[in-house]
Amino acid sequence: MLTDSADDEIQQSTALRWLSELLTFAHEIMVPFTPRLILAILPNLAHDVPMIQSVAVKTNKLLLNVVQSLPFPPQSTPDTVGAQGLGADGRVNSVAPSPTPTADSVPTRRSTKDQTNPPSRDMNSPELIQESASGQGQKSKGPGATPTQKDIDNATGNLKQQGGSNLPVVASRPESPVSMRSGGLTLPPIGQSQQQAPTTVTQGSSITDKPFMLDYPATVNALTIQFLSEHEETRVAALRWLIMLHQKSPKVHPLNTKPYAGLTLCW
C-alpha cells in the first residue's frame, strides 16, 4: 500500500511535470484542453505532498500565462461562445466542442498519413478522450456532488485508493495518460500543418479553426467547480483565473453564459 501510494505520488507529479513541460514548448496545443487541465491542476495546488504541490503551482502559473497571452479576437470569441452556449441544450454541447474539434481534426490529418504511423492505439484514444470529456462534462454540470467529491478527493489524496473507483480514476490517475495522449496526438500535426494546412482548412474551416481556441464555457465550469474545493489555495486560484478571463475579454461575460447556469444546482 505504501509503495502504491508512493508510486501514485510519483506518477501524479510526473504527469504534472509533463504538463508543465508541454506548456512551455507546445502551449498552443494545450489550450483546447484547458478545462480538463484545470481540473487536473487546481485541486493539487494544496496537495499534501510538496513534490506534487510545487509542480501543480508551477503548472498552474504556466497555463494561466498561456491563456492570458492568447490573442482573443474580440468579436469572434463571443460569437463562438454564444454559439456553443446557446446551441442545442447548452449543457452537454458546451463542454463537448473543445475536445471534439481536436479529436476530429487530428485523426483526419492522421488518417491521411497512416503509413508513417499506424495508429491503432492513437485512433482509439480520441474516442476515449471524447468520451471521458463528455462524461466529465455531464457529471460536472449535473447534480454537482460527484465532481466536487472527486476534486476534493483528488486534492487531498486521501481517498485516492479507497474512494469510489470511478471518481479518482477520472480525476487524478488518467491525467498522465491523457496528457501524454494529448501530447502524442497533437504533436505530429505541427510538422504536418505546414504541408497540410491548406487542405485541412478547405476541408472544414469550422473544425480546423477551433483547435487552438479556448472553450470559455467549459473553462468557466471547470473553474467554478473549484469553488467547492476545501482548499483555500484552490478556491483563490479559481477566482484569479476567472478574474483574468474576465479582464481578458469582459464582453464575453464567461459568468453569464448559459452553461454556468447549470452550476446553480451545485450551490
Binding site: 459568468l255 453569464n256 446553480t264
Partner: protein, 114 residues
C-alpha cells in the same frame, strides 16, 4: 443575471477564507464595472438581502465586504445605492441595522469621515 451568477458569487462571499472573499469581490466589481448599471444595483440588493438573512455574515464579514467593494468600486455610489435600497427595506431590518453602532456602514462611514 438570472442565470445563476449571483447565487454562485454571493455564496462565495460566505467563504471562510478572507482571501477568497477578496478575490470574489474583485471579480464582482470587475463584472459590475464592465456591465450595465442594473447589474450593480441588483447585486447590491442581493447583498443586502444576504446580510439581512445571515446576520452572522454581516457581523463577521460585513465590514470586510463593504470595504473591499469600496476599494474596487466608486465608494459614493455604493453608499448611495445602499441608502436607497435601505430606504425601501422593511422597518425591522433597518431598525436592527441602524441601531447597531458597530455595523459595517457606521464603521466605514467613520473611516471615510476621518
Amino acid at each position: 443575471m438570472d442565470d445563476g451568477t449571483f447565487p454562485a458569487l454571493l455564496k462565495t462571499l460566505s467563504d471562510p477564507s478572507e482571501e477568497v472573499i477578496k478575490h470574489d469581490l474583485q471579480l464582482i466589481a470587475q463584472i459590475s464595472t464592465s456591465s450595465e448599471e442594473s447589474y450593480f444595483r441588483v447585486f447590491m440588493h442581493n447583498l443586502l438581502e444576504l446580510f439581512s438573512t445571515d446576520r452572522r455574515l454581516l457581523e463577521t464579514r460585513g465590514s470586510l465586504i463593504i470595504r473591499q467593494l469600496c476599494l474596487n468600486l466608486n465608494t459614493e455610489k455604493i453608499y448611495r445605492t445602499f441608502a436607497e435600497l435601505l430606504e425601501r427595506e422593511e422597518v425591522s431590518f433597518i431598525s436592527g441595522f441602524e441601531k447597531d453602532d458597530n455595523n459595517p456602514f457606521s464603521r466605514t462611514s467613520n473611516l471615510l469621515v476621518s
